[in-house]
Symmetry: C2
Subunit: 279 residues, 2 copies
């Protein structure tokens, strides 16, 4: 890997620059009155399943990140949630979700994150999750994952997943079981009931806690690649494993009908969860 994308010695400089961009574009809009658009054309007032909010903060953050990438890496491609694809045939492609957890953002909760992945021929090789309110940068590549806090004096923390070996000891995250499809829900429910603790509503932050050793599983469905690409190198560099519900690697840049993701703190838990989800 290019040295400038290595995490061997901590957060790469380009990620720290991107974190500054994310903070500059998101924080002025957080906990402010916002015009909230609904991305679902047929969404109607008062039907919570038809409401997919997007704000000027989502759009401006992605636009600013794309500008930085185009300036610095003119040969690289970009795939972003808000502004789509450019130059996807490039060897290196950046995959961006400017605000993962827009519902959290518009509700005032500081658990949303800016997700940035660098993919090499469709495989995420560097990932970062940035939480500007807390000043947190979670980053991972290869075998080195870190949490840096740009606001506190906390030392740089090497991330390592937890080694619980049974579901009965495990903490499970999912954003909202109600958004699972019919065939998915029963399997998810069986997994949830097998775990010691579950939590809803954390979006990308749940994956960051798996990477950090404070949770063991994060299971979701209906994702797009930009919802998860950045989190894969972080979790895997910290010792975890991320696959589909069929146990396949999460790769590629194509649009998904319904991407199902299982992130686990270790191989043992991954196998136990997969045995329930892949039925």
């Amino acid at each position: 890997m290019h040295n400038e994308f290595s995490t061997q010695n901590g957060v790469p400089e380009i990620i720290r620059e991107m974190a500054d961009v994310a903070a500059a574009e998101t924080l002025p809009h957080f906990r402010q009155p916002l015009h909230i658009e609904n991305k679902l054309e047929n969404g109607s007032e008062g039907a919570s399943n038809d409401f997919d909010p997007v704000t000027i903060a989502d759009k401006n953050t992605e636009a600013a990140l794309r500008k930085l990438i185009n300036q610095r890496f003119p040969d690289h491609g970009i795939l972003g949630e808000e502004y789509g694809a450019e130059n996807l045939q490039a060897e290196f492609v950046w995959v961006l979700d400017p605000i993962d957890g827009t519902r959290l953002f518009v509700s005032g909760l500081p658990l949303w994150g800016t997700l940035i992945a660098l993919c090499h021929k469709g495989t995420p090789i560097l990932g970062a999750m940035i939480q500007p309110v807390l000043g947190e940068i979670f980053v991972g590549a290869g075998s080195h994952a870190w949490l840096e806090n740009t606001k506190s004096k906390a030392p740089l923390t090497r991330l390592a997943t937890r080694q619980h070996e049974t579901l009965g000891q495990a903490t499970l995250f999912t954003t909202d079981p109600a958004i699972l499809a019919n065939g998915e829900r029963a399997r998810y429910d069986q997994l949830e009931q097998s775990c010691q603790l579950y939590r809803y509503g954390a979006d990308c932050y749940g994956y960051a806690m798996v990477a950090s050793g404070f949770a063991d599983l994060d299971v979701e469905a209906g994702l797009q690649i930009y919802d998860i690409a950045a989190l894969i190198p972080i979790i895997e560099a910290a010792g975890g494993k991320v696959t589909t519900w069929q146990g396949n690697p999460v790769r590629g840049l194509e649009k998904h009908e319904r991407l199902q993701v299982l992130a686990a703190a270790n191989e043992t838990l991954h196998a136990q969860a997969l045995a329930i989800l892949d039925k």
Copy 2:
């Protein structure tokens, strides 16, 4: 009200002292390996509904707050989640939940809070919610509610609830609909489906967002008075309304079988939610 408990000019000094105590007792344990006890005697590994975690951080925080209260206000009573009741017949009683959202705490998410209420003859007259990771103190009494951030340079913020007037514009919080009882769930579900957006998993932080104008409703059941007493003066001083699902004031210090709470940003939304919940 005693001047020392007034919020007319911002956060009372005693609350700021209590926030320092809460930070000192919780932060050294947050995101650290912790011995987690299960408060439910019959709880078993791998049954998430039987797991009610408590940590040394919960216990030490309450003990330190009780010590401070006993030193400073020897005539006052105390009711706390971890160490129970003392001198409840006093005119003034402090109601404490040292860590509301222990499940969040042990999962690494910084949305838990230290809840402190001062009750006068059973009525909460001063409330504070403290989130030490973020450095936030939400406080309210009478007609003045505030957010002070002890870590950032953000100015003291006067809290005011949002004035959305229909459920179709509203954001609803609940911690977990699965913990509602049979008779409660259908009414809750109808309310959820009437709202524009719902979020799970925020515990006390959802109520703070109602007070702050970033959400409109928080609806829960199965609470004890220490889960909600501190939040009532904050929400009401910011312009909101908090009652039971029958529309009664939430008062008193007795143990509840199943306290049902409806917090709303304004009278109009409160009435609309009550029409669904009080069936």
